[in-house]
């Protein structure tokens, strides 16, 4: 068993060595494809994670003036609750809000006293009513000037960024994926041509189809997996670069950490799977194999 595996794997490596340039091209493009797709996926994951900490589209944040009575607060809550399109109103005291912020961003909140006002969290049942609801609330005396925040600029920007990322990443990544499919397929076809003597002899002495085909599949798997491995390193490097860049804008944008095992694991596995599929197509084509 091990003996047989050794033969099959060494056949695959011989082919890779004989076929250096084609292998190089196949590995490079599959690497680019996985880098683009993987990079996009992880960037998307990071940004989407950040967006989740922001108020949602269906939420209006209402900041309140300090000078007000409990009765006024209660009355305002009732009034808001009756507005069309409002699902729920909740009071978030400045202490609660500060505690939450401290938990989420410990480095930024450290050593400062609480600058936050009390606020209402107004949940909407209908986004289209947001403008009307905001206008009605803005008129209330206990609401701060400019104290009604909803679907903020950050939120809009983020969702635009996410959309763009999705499109550009999918388009470029898909294109590269297609290119690398053609190249891996070609690399395997070239191997079949380059090794036609060996393949013919194997077939003449009665080697099974799997003995002939498995080395070719292994070759495709190796090409895809190496592409995925290099892509993982590129993503790692890109992430480090991003951290360096963002360090200069020490602000609210924090670059999240990268799940290393997930990055390497998923990209290598995807690459291998991809190489396997491409090479399966290459050996399915009956022309080359006797």
């Amino acid at each position: 068993m091990l003996d047989r595996l050794e033969f099959l794997v060494s056949e695959a490596f011989t082919a890779l060595r004989r076929n250096t340039w084609m292998s190089f091209a196949a590995i490079t493009t599959s690497c680019m494809a996985l880098f683009l797709l993987g990079g996009m996926a992880f960037a998307y994951r990071g940004i989407a994670g950040y967006a989740e900490t922001l108020p949602s589209k269906l939420e209006v944040r209402v900041f309140l003036v300090d000078k007000r009575t409990d009765f006024e607060t209660k009355q305002a809550m009732e009034q808001i609750g009756k507005l069309k399109g409002v699902r729920k109103v909740a009071l978030v005291t400045k202490a609660e809000a500060w505690a939450k912020l401290q938990r989420e961003m410990p480095d930024i909140t450290k050593g400062i006293s609480n600058p936050l006002p009390d606020a209402f969290n107004v949940s909407l049942s209908d986004v289209d009513e947001a403008n009307k609801v905001a206008a009605s609330i803005r008129k209330m005396p206990i609401v701060e000037k400019e104290g009604v925040k909803y679907e903020g600029e950050t939120q809009a920007l983020l969702s635009q960024t996410l959309t763009l990322l999705r499109w550009v990443g999918s388009a470029l990544g898909g294109l590269m994926l297609l290119t690398s499919a053609v190249l891996i397929y070609n690399a395997i076809r070239m191997t079949i041509v380059a090794r036609r003597r060996e393949i013919r002899i194997m077939s003449l002495v009665g080697a099974t189809r799997s003995t002939i085909v498995i080395p070719l599949l292994i070759e495709g798997i190796i090409q895809g997996a190496i592409g995925g491995l290099i892509a993982s390193f590129l993503i790692l490097a890109g992430h480090q670069l991003l951290i360096r860049l963002m360090a200069n804008f020490a602000g609210f944008i924090r670059v999240g950490s990268l799940p290393l095992v997930l990055v390497f694991g998923s990209l290598v596995a995807l690459g291998a799977l991809y190489g396997l599929i491409c090479s399966m197509f290459a050996v399915r084509d009956p022309r080359g194999i006797a």
Binding site: D3, E198, S203, G206
Partner: protein, 243 residues
Amino acid sequence: MGLSLTDPNLIVLRGTLGFLAGVANIEFKGVCVEYGKYVRALTDVSFTVEKGEFVFFVGRTGSGKSTILKLLSREVQPTRGTVSFDGLDVSNMPERDVPSLRRRMGIVPQDFGLLPRKKAWENIGYAMRAVGKRRIEVRKAIEPILENVNLAHRADAFPTEMSGGEQQRLAIARALINSPQLILADEPTGNLDADHSIEIISLLQELNQQGATVLVATHDLLVLEKFSQHRVVTMEKGQISHA
């Protein structure tokens, strides 16, 4: 009644007798082979070969000799008719059974089919590994196989460093890795001078004496003269003209 040797009735009779005797090893029945639409390589070919026979297939280039050998190894399938070997219907067996069929025969291709980057013994070893033999088995088997064809002293030579006769013997050695009951040799003396030709046919004859059925395609008249004791099947334009 004039019964010629090519009379179809006689051929059928021989086949039937062979079958009854339980020794018919190879049987072609009404075999036609067409390559594409217009090239007819064989037309209605029928014959039998008994176990342990040594048969020459003779004829001009293009007369269909190689095609006959390739039908047996299932490199070619007939357009019509059947080819059987050892009771197996070679022409209709499923693709997945072909490897085990080929392990029962030793195929010596016309162009030797040696791997130029591998030494003589590696050429044998590679073929053995390809049919699933383990490393240890290979190491043990190579020496006797090379000795069998008088090549033990050339084990470390590359094919390009070997003479035509040596290359041919190496190709025969490779055909022996599965201890075949049937050896198919296509123009084994095609590229050799007279002395080496005789040496190669003698080698095949020895293997025949050890029990293998041997089919040789050739157009080498010198060889036929020298080994006239064996059966000769003459081919002409895809048909058997003399059996």
